[in-house]
Every structure is written in structure tokens, then in C-alpha cells.
């Protein structure tokens, strides 16, 4: 079985990540370390939706939010939204944000991303 890979082609991710990394370096370090752990877990054979850890939050439509916990204290609550697609063994990087933007902006945008991806898959 092949390894999982990341796909970050979404314009949304590029835009949001570019902006977020400017002022939140420690949060980015923490989130990417947690993403690395998640990647190790699924490459070792864990079901991508069954990785259980404090930094992983299941969201609607199979979306997963990875936070900044476990690295340094007093970091801003950060969420990296990803979507693991088992058929292609791809982890789509969708967007990044904080607690303030999660409900009003990030989760709806992530849902829209997955809806479009699923539609694309249906239409072949």
C-alpha cells in the first residue's frame, strides 16, 4: 500500500496560510508538528478518521481539524482543516484559522471544499 500524500492546491489554503504564518509562527510550528504525528499514525495503518488524540477534532463531512495543543503554553487556538481521501490516499489541506473564525468562516468553507471535491469525484 502506498504512502499518504498532501495536496495543498486549494487557493483558499494558500491564501489563508500565507497570511496566518506572518504573525503566528509558534502556532504554525505546533500545528505542523501535530500534522506530522497524524501523518505518521495513518501511514502506520490507522484509519484516518479514527486517530484519537487531544489535538484532533472531527468536523462534519469527514473534515478533520488539527489544533496547536501539546507544544507550548499560551498559544492562540489554531485549527488546520484537512480532508483525508482514502481512495487516493490524499490529505487535502483546506484552510487554517483560529477559534474566532472557525464557525463563521472556516468550517463552512471547508464543507464547501469537500462538497465540490465529492461532486468532482461523482462526475469522474
Amino acid at each position: 500500500m502506498s504512502e499518504w500524500e498532501f495536496d495543498r492546491e486549494s487557493d483558499l489554503f494558500k491564501r489563508r496560510f500565507k497570511k496566518y504564518q506572518k504573525n503566528h509562527k509558534s502556532e504554525i510550528t505546533a500545528v505542523l508538528n501535530n500534522l506530522d504525528k497524524y501523518m505518521e499514525a495513518i501511514n502506520a495503518g490507522t484509519d484516518p478518521h479514527k486517530v484519537q488524540r487531544g489535538f484532533i477534532h472531527p468536523e462534519p463531512m469527514g473534515i478533520i481539524a488539527i489544533d496547536q495543543k501539546g507544544h507550548a503554553p499560551n498559544l492562540r487556538e489554531t485549527r488546520l482543516y484537512i480532508y483525508p481521501e482514502a481512495e487516493t490516499r490524499t490529505i487535502y489541506l483546506i484552510t487554517i484559522g483560529d477559534k474566532d473564525t472557525q464557525d463563521r468562516r472556516d468550517i463552512p468553507e471547508a464543507k464547501q471544499f469537500v462538497e465540490e471535491l465529492l461532486k468532482e469525484r461523482e462526475n469522474g
Binding site: D7, L32, N33, A41, N43, T46, V51, T90
Partner: protein, 170 residues
């Protein structure tokens, strides 16, 4: 499909704008790679941190620290205890090789990696399937096809070849 990355380190190379921060982050991720591998193996084994602590005869915070530790903080004794708890055997191998400036000085291989390597090697081995090719003569006017064997009744007029196809092509 967009640009794809095999690891977070590869991803960092491309998505972090600040060069200094990028190098710092890559260094941090490489430093934690062994700890993250341990975490991945425990998850795949379906063992909770609490259970792991029980199996290692330590407290849960030690397991947590180990799974976030940098290379300088991980002792061989920790690795022994961890692998034993997972029902695995720790194997340390010293290899000769050129020390590349850019690449990490160590490799971490799990049983899963070995399985993947084996399955890749098996995939690359060609599967030999004998194929019997028979050639016919074809008459354009009558549109008749004659088996060369039947026409000449000579085995030399029948062209037979055995081809080897790799399993993948088929």
C-alpha cells in the same frame, strides 16, 4: 490534482515564506521525527497512552513526553521499553555511507515500512507468462486465413515465440 508532498518537511519547504523560520521548522520536525514515529506505531497498534504507560510500567506523562521528545532527550532504554510494549524488537543498525549535508543522519524503519518495501519489490518482479503466438497467412482476394501449420505442415513455417510480460502490463 494539485502539487503533492510526501511529508510535512517537504510541505514546509514550499509553504513557509520566511527562510529562517523555514529552516528552524524543518530542524524541529526532523528532531521530533523519531518521537512522532513512536506515536504513529502506538496509534496503529490501537493502544491508548494510559495502556502504554501500564505496559511500560511508568506514568502517562512519561509516554506523552516521549512522543514529543527531541532526539537528544530519547534514551535507548526508552526505545527498548516502548518497542517491547508494542510487542516489537528494537534493531539498531550502523551503516556505511556518505554523510550528505542535506539529509538526516539516521533512518527510522518500522515493521510497516519493511512490509511496504517487500510489497514494492514483489511488484517490480516481472511475472513470466508464456504466450503462444501463431501466425496465419492471409489471402486478400479470397479473404481466407490459413494457419501456417495447416498449409505447410512444416513446423518451421509456424512462428512461435514465448514472450515475457511483466505482471503490471497485463
Amino acid at each position: 490534482m494539485g502539487k503533492r508532498y510526501k511529508s510535512v518537511v517537504d510541505l514546509v519547504e514550499d509553504i513557509i515564506d520566511d527562510e529562517e523560520f523555514k529552516e528552524e521548522l524543518k530542524k524541529d520536525l526532523l528532531d521530533k521525527s523519531l518521537a512522532h514515529k513512536l506515536y504513529g506505531m502506538r496509534c496503529a497498534a490501537g493502544i491508548t497512552q494510559a495502556k502504554m504507560a501500564e505496559l511500560m510500567d511508568c506514568n502517562q506523562s512519561r509516554v506523552s513526553k516521549l512522543e514529543n521528545a527531541g532526539l537528544n532527550s530519547i534514551k535507548v532504554a526508552d526505545l527498548l521499553a516502548y518497542t517491547k510494549a508494542l510487542g516489537l524488537k528494537l534493531s539498531i543498525r550502523f551503516r556505511e555511507g556518505e554523510v550528505a549535508k542535506e539529509s538526516p543522519l539516521f533512518e527510522i524503519k518500522t515493521p510497516r515500512d519493511e512490509e511496504k518495501k517487500e510489497s514494492k519489490e514483489n511488484k517490480q518482479k516481472p511475472v513470466l507468462i508464456p504466450v503462444h503466438v501463431v501466425v496465419y497467412s492471409y489471402d486478400k482476394t479470397t479473404q481466407n486465413r490459413t494457419h501456417l501449420n495447416k498449409r505447410a505442415r512444416q513446423p518451421s513455417n509456424t512462428i512461435e515465440r514465448n514472450y515475457a510480460y511483466s505482471g503490471e502490463k497485463i
